[in-house]
Amino acid sequence: MHRFEYHAPTSLDEAVALLKEHGDGTKLLAGGTDLLVHMKEGGLHPPRVVSLHAVAGLDGITLDESDGLSIGSAVSMDEIASNDAIRQRYAALAEGAGVVGSVQTRSMATIGGNVANAAPSADTTPPLAVFDATAQIVGSGGTREVPVIDLFEGPGSTVLAGDEVLTGFKLPTPPADTGSIYQRHTPRKIMDIAAVGVGVRLSLGGGNIGEARICLGAVAATIIRATEAEDALAGHPPSEELFAKAAELAQAASSPISDVRGSAEFRRHLVGVMTKRCLDIALERAQN
């Protein structure tokens, strides 16, 4: 790795001040599983690295019946995947975190890093989006909240300013009869990046689908919500035909590219198959 100046601030204020003082070339370091790969092989040579390790208050998972779930940005994939409350109430998120890399990757990789890295194939962003999660952001201008679905501008690019730090995520409490799921298709079974990722949440009410969320990964420049499919589902009783129709609308919403993990045509086909399958599973989970 090229040389850089290293900072390990112990407070968020200090971290933000360092980012403000040194400008855009400065990189934040969380688990390092994306940043170090970019610095070793991706031609990224930041003059300064600001580690978040010693910054207090970025860890922790708290569940509150009225406020919902809060997850600090420095929480690891391993902690999320093994948290009982998340597995029960926010299953799609536990599933997304649980498929990231290997045991080693999951013990280092953080949720904040996964989001800030802004890969369209990231495995925790579709689950966050289906739970209407908001990102908590602190910068020199103060704090703000942005819905996770609105954070991304393109591959590797977010709306975060150079002096802003993601501090955590808030996920509202889902309605009582809710089922969720995240599935991805990868050419290799494990240790691979999604060719297509699908997150689904169905919340039932009085025999109908009250609220539906479908978020697709790796089939556009950012993760996308299939809003037409969601609208088609909401307010109707679940049925085979309805799910088939929603799967078609999700396909229409995707605009995949061809690369080593699959052709555009194959990916679009997968969006249909996987959306249908995920809707079936989410319904079953919502009913149990």
């Binding site: 040389r3 100046e5 790969v37 092989e41 990757t105 013990s107 494990i190």
Partner: protein, 154 residues
């Protein structure tokens, strides 16, 4: 670029090094502290040859910046044997014949140890997912999976 002092407890012994911050934990442990059991295969988190246990967690030390691990308790393959007795996972690898060239083995054994610490009776699928981040070019994995299963019985 100022040099930094880092302190690690490795295999129960205190170590310190005076380093540039752009080194990985793997580089410091191998090149400065001369514990060369951990290997560098890929350098990008894919092969697991550099696996170490840092504060109780299995990590790929090629992706951990050396100053990030300052103050950590670290176990490397050199620290598994106690008073000359091999760890059960090490012994099982030998008894099963799971070692060929040996390059992946320190990481495999540490991954096996971490698995058995958390799950003393894993099934085959659990063993395979526990070593999914450890690549072996020689054995085809069958003997490695058998060795970890044998260590669980030991």
């Amino acid at each position: 670029m100022a040099k930094l002092e880092v302190h690690y407890t490795i295999n129960g012994r205190a170590h310190e090094a005076y380093i540039e911050p752009n080194l990985t934990l793997l580089e410091v442990v191998r090149d400065e502290l001369r514990l060369t059991g951990s290997k560098e295969g890929c350098g990008t988190g894919d092969c697991g040859a550099c696996s170490m246990i840092v504060d109780g967690k299995l990590v790929t030390s090629c992706l951990m910046l050396a100053p990030q691990a300052d103050g950590a308790e670290i176990t490397t393959i050199e620290g598994l044997a106690t008073n000359g007795d091999l760890h059960p996972v090490q012994q099982a690898f030998i008894d099963t014949g799971a070692v060929q060239c040996g390059f992946c083995i320190p990481g495999m054994i540490l991954a096996g140890k971490v698995l058995l610490d958390q799950n003393p009776k894993p099934d085959e699928q659990e063993i395979r997912s526990a070593i999914a981040g450890n690549l072996c070019r020689c054995t085809g994995y069958t003997k490695i999976v058998e060795a970890i299963a044998a260590a669980a019985e030991a």
